[in-house]
């Protein structure tokens, strides 16, 4: 591996990040469009129908005007699946994602949301200390890189909840907490969106899993049948709460409920909720070890 190739690959990852960030903000995925269309057909409340009709108009205008779907350019979150034989080290991948995020912000221009958490002063073009945020997964026997960009809006991120249930609370404790959280959130996280739930692991890992859950295509099911059954059940229950689109009352409170799980300690029963708004922005790319980029790929 020559130095030049590594340098080029860093540039390819930076280009991909810059493209993914803007693409995600402007062009929401087809599975989400389908879920919003189904919601629009199903909703019966007057205010709820007005909201879903406005969302439909908005998505179409974003397409025709080449504008952002939502003004909140979010906090840039990426998930990376790195093959063990991918020639660029994760430290350099991170640097490229950071550079790409900043470049997209300056060139478009995009609103910059990043601030120091104590001074609240802006720290740069959607970058800062430990920003953007990257979730890493390392894949054996593979030489590729998958990058997914999830610009995460603050309205929905503010509606994140963690409870350390006890084992005696069982699965019903999990269900109660998710239901209470979403009813309590009301219209604030821009419903109807995707409820991400993380169960098991530790406190921090449960929230990490909840974030993973919201990055899945809408309506996909966890491969574990027990978890998939819980997804179906919670999806049904959440839509009985009547919170409705933008919390104005109605039939469609959530588009989906996705759950990710990890095994846990015999004494633990953590449950985390991370909400993703209706504008569930997401864009992916696959990068080969020689720098070819495929932007149509979902992973």
């Amino acid at each position: 591996m020559s130095i030049d190739t590594v340098t080029d690959l860093a540039g390819v990852v930076e280009d991909a990040a810059a493209h993914l960030y803007v693409w995600a903000l402007k062009d929401i995925p087809q599975d989400l469009r389908d879920a919003l269309a189904a919601a629009r057909l199903r909703e019966t409340s007057v205010a709820g129908k007005r909201v879903l009709e406005t969302i439909h108009r908005n998505v179409n205008i974003a397409d025709s005007e080449n504008n952002l779907v939502c003004q909140d350019t979010g906090i840039a979150v990426y998930t990376c699946r790195v093959g063990e034989h991918f020639p660029l080290h994760p430290t350099r991948i991170y640097e490229s994602l950071r550079n790409g995020t900043a470049r997209a912000t300056l060139e478009h221009p995009l609103r910059s949301n990043a601030v120091h958490t104590i001074t609240r002063e802006n720290t740069g073009p959607n970058i800062g200390y430990r920003l953007p945020i990257v979730h890493w997964e390392f894949i054996e026997d593979w030489d590729g890189l998958d990058v997914k960009c999830i610009p995460k809006g603050s309205g929905s991120e503010n509606m994140s909840f963690l409870k350390m249930c006890i084992p005696a609370d069982g699965v019903n404790g999990i269900k109660r907490f998710v239901l209470e959280s979403i009813v309590g959130a009301g219209g604030k996280p821009c419903p109807p969106g995707i409820v991400g739930v993380g169960i098991g692991g530790t406190a921090d890992y449960a929230m990490y899993l909840a974030k993973e859950a919201i990055t899945r295509p809408v309506g996909t099911r966890n491969p574990d049948p027990l978890v998939a059954q819980l997804e179906d059940e919670l999806y049904g229950l959440l839509n009985e709460t009547g919170i409705g689109p933008m919390g104005l009352g109605g039939d469609v409170t959530v588009l989906q409920c996705h759950i990710e799980h990890a095994d846990t300690h015999m004494t633990l029963n953590p449950v985390a909720v991370n909400y993703q708004c209706w504008a569930a922005r997401r864009a992916s790319a696959h990068i080969s070890p020689t720098g070819e980029t495929d932007f149509d790929r979902e992973f």
């Binding site: 007057v46 205010a47 007005r50 909201v51 406005t54 969302i55 108009r57 908005n58 998505v59 205008i61 974003a62 005007e65 504008n67 952002l68 779907v69 939502c70 003004q71 909140d72 350019t73 478009h108 221009p109 995009l110 609103r111 609240r120 809006g153 603050s154 309205g155 503010n158 019903n172 269900k175 109660r176 239901l179 209470e180 009813v183 009301g186 219209g187 604030k188 996280p189 821009c190 229950l237 009985e240 709460t241 009547g242 919170i243 409705g244 933008m246 919390g247 104005l248 009352g249 708004c277 209706w278 504008a279």
Partner: protein, 195 residues
């Protein structure tokens, strides 16, 4: 539920009193963009706002903009943020400055109901995230004050057919959010009993 068109700033209180929770409203005229830091400066740091807020429609926003060489700002993407964080400013906005309408997304908690009732104010619910549409309804950014708070400045926008908005809280003590929460809490008890 009725549909109305209201032009801001309003001078006749009846323009606000005629609106009922659940009604659909389209707004014309001028609206003022405001956010957390703008209101913290006015009320916590006690700095007089350099814009007249009498009869005003305030929008909870921090717009995405592009600064032109002339010093003017051009819209890029303008949307609306979550209102609940700013509910404590409702009463002083109405009492001290005569604000008549606050528009945001996600609603205000119940503490906004009494001051809105007393002072003849309304809360308008916009569709959060629908910024591409909202941007087309903002004709021009006419004025920007407190630029050092960018993007949380005071903004004056000229709008055309701004909406559709839903009256979330009216000036008669009614709140859709209160009603939805009351029903949802009762429903939760029913759902828990089924688990």
């Amino acid at each position: 539920m009725a549909s109305h068109t209201v032009t801001f700033p309003v001078t006749d209180p009846q323009e606000i009193l005629k609106l009922k929770a659940g009604d659909e409203v389209t707004v014309q005229g001028h609206i003022i963009g405001i956010r957390d830091r703008t209101q913290i400066r006015i009320f916590d740091e006690k700095v007089e706002p350099p814009m007249d807020l009498k009869g005003a429609f305030l929008l909870h926003t921090a717009p995405g903009v592009r600064k032109l060489e002339s010093g003017k700002y051009e819209k890029v993407c303008i949307g609306t943020t979550t209102s609940a964080r700013m509910v404590r400013f409702t009463e002083p906005l109405g009492r001290q400055y005569g604000v008549r309408a606050i528009c945001g997304k996600g609603g205000f908690p119940d503490e906004a109901i009494a001051p809105m009732h007393e002072l003849g104010m309304v809360y308008f619910a916009i569709v959060g995230g629908a910024a591409a549409l909202e941007t087309t309804q903002i004709e021009e950014i006419e004025d920007v004050m407190w630029e050092e708070l960018m993007p949380e400045c005071l903004w004056r926008f000229r709008v055309k057919d701004f909406g559709p908005l839903t009256v979330g809280i009216d000036a008669h003590g009614n709140s859709l959010y209160h009603d939805v929460q009351t029903r949802a809490q009762a429903k939760l008890e029913e759902l828990f009993a089924r688990l």
